[in-house]
Symmetry: C2
Subunit: 352 residues, 2 copies
């Protein structure tokens, strides 16, 4: 299936075939270069490499959020120079969100920008980073704080890559599917909350529905002036938690941190918006069933608040949230005082 994103590019969802690469060949690039990571070069590249011309350079980035920084960008830019990549080349970015965000940024800034194509290989990147043109890296301990908005020439989503993932990775990506439903589509939420066994989900139907929610939000507000901020639901607290645990052994996957964030921000929604207690309970019960509970030590509260204050979503010193008025309905540009946020963290801890 094809989803049109503005005039600029299309998202193809389904098996990647010769047809896809024929289309790419039709664009007459001077060359192709593949970006992969330590994992996708082994697990995912074999699914497409027979479509690539012999000698296509493949650049492998170290995997994981901890490597999503300027140092890795330098290695990738150097590899592009070494491969003789020119302005009329196209980069094929094969990986999860980290690789997609970083290699897209690298392509968008190499010689002031070359075209790039995204082939997301994780559930998270299929339903989230594949739409919306957000590219970048972490800097100064703040996630995605250096980057650009830029669209790929196309996104090819092939659920076959999901077989290369661990159950935990699939669960992490699923968090964004829950989020899309909660912020914009009550009907989808009614469907999603009946899912209890992720290994039995038919991804070929649920991915297009979820991508489409994001697509509609992004088309209406590409540069995050308003509506698009609704996608940040669960992410103000979620990003802080993810950053806090990033350099520890218990590090949380993005979707796990966001699930905890969605629980806490749903509680904030009952305090600062009109979310009902029944809806809060339903959301909380569902997310705890899927993701379990990870207590947040009181000693971390100060640092978490600091991280939230640095979040690029804030427009001044206040901490910005997207809250739910009801399942399927979000309100952007809400703020919460530190005391209230601490109360949310304590309330969440009490659920454990």
């Amino acid at each position: 299936m094809t989803l049109q994103v503005a005039d600029s590019y299309q998202i193809e969802i389904g098996s990647i075939t010769q047809k896809h690469f024929d289309w790419l060949r039709g664009k007459e690039y001077a060359g192709w270069i593949v970006f992969a990571d330590d994992n996708t070069v082994i697990d995912c590249l074999p699914l497409i490499e027979h479509y690539l011309p012999e000698g296509t350079p493949v650049v492998v980035a170290p995997e994981g959020e901890l490597n999503k920084h300027l140092g890795t960008c330098q290695e990738l830019w150097e590899a592009m120079f070494e491969a003789g990549v020119g302005r009329r080349w196209c980069a094929i970015c094969l990986g999860g969100g980290v690789l997609e965000d970083m290699s897209g940024f690298v392509a968008s800034t190499y010689k002031r920008g070359i075209d790039f194509l995204q082939i997301p290989t994780t559930l998270l990147s299929m339903v989230d980073s594949s739409v919306g043109g957000k590219l970048g890296i972490d800097f100064n301990h703040v996630k995605n704080s250096i980057g650009v908005f830029n669209d790929p020439v196309a996104v090819w989503i092939d659920p076959a890559f999901l077989k290369t993932l661990s159950a935990r990775e699939v669960r992490s990506g699923y968090g964004e599917i829950v989020k899309h439903a909660l912020i914009a589509d009550r009907e989808q939420w009614e469907a999603v909350k009946t899912i209890t066994k992720l290994e039995e989900v038919d991804w070929s139907t649920i991915i297009p529905a979820s991508v489409n929610i994001k697509r509609e939000v992004v088309l209406e507000d590409p540069f995050e002036k308003g509506l698009r901020k609704s996608l940040n639901f669960g992410h103000t607290i979620g990003h802080a938690i993810e950053s806090f645990w990033l350099e520890t052994e218990d590090r949380l996957f993005h979707g796990e941190a966001v699930a905890a964030g969605m629980i806490m921000e749903s509680w904030l929604s009952t305090q600062l918006d009109s979310l009902s207690g029944d809806d809060l309970e339903e959301i909380t019960t569902y997310l705890l069933k899927i993701y379990g509970h990870q207590a947040v030590p009181e000693s971390a509260f100060g640092q978490l608040l600091t991280l939230m204050r640095q979040d690029k979503k804030n427009e001044d010193s206040r901490i910005n949230f997207t809250l739910l008025s009801a399942p399927g309905s979000a309100r952007v540009n809400a703020t919460a005082e530190p005391d209230m946020i601490v109360a949310a963290l304590r309330w969440y801890n009490g659920l454990g």
Copy 2:
């Protein structure tokens, strides 16, 4: 005087006054941050600082092309975090081409991009980098090889800043004025070639004419697919020479390197295009009178060719040039074989 650049922004040429800053205040940014360099913070900031709200953060970058790299960008990004700069802030970039290119890039990638305003303080940046949205830094020994295209909210060109420059800096910037005339405006070339004393030029008339040539070229071809490449005249060899001497004590200013490049590429234009011998002589005589002659050692030829091959203007392994068919008329996408380029270097050396 006001030059409109597409719908997106205006270039104001003339004294910077309270009116300018009232207009900026009307845009209701959450804050302003000033980028300057070691020189402009001393020489230029005093001309505008009484218009800035008390406490406006001023970030000072080390001056010069050798500092136009990723390490300096990191310092600037860190300073922005420290100053609490949010997405709705505006950066005011006060400096020459190096500072404008680099701080514009830093602003365009900080939190995926904040607005920025350019106040060019050198003749080079007034007539060249002020129009066209090219931002970036040097990387891997290649000039401007990492960057983006992005337009400022406005450019304010005030010839008063020229008084802060050395005669050599003025002469460097003047090279682009000559170039604009040669590639696109024969009449302007007839006027320019009568100028022999740069200290007597009325910049308030010559700058608008020159900026306007560049503006018309860029409006027609913002992303350098074709016509805009005409602005690269003199720059294929000029950039290589500039890079080669960059780390030496005799380093050439940009305009000096480009003047030598224009002489050699004019010679190539007689060999590979229809430029007449008389025009070549006129161009050569004029440029040598203004810029003198700087011999290029034979031992450097190999490295210069390597630098030219890495130039981001090339679309494959061939070395790309813009040549003149006649003064005022350029042809883009010409190529020259290494032997021919070496011949141009030798011919130039013979002029000394």
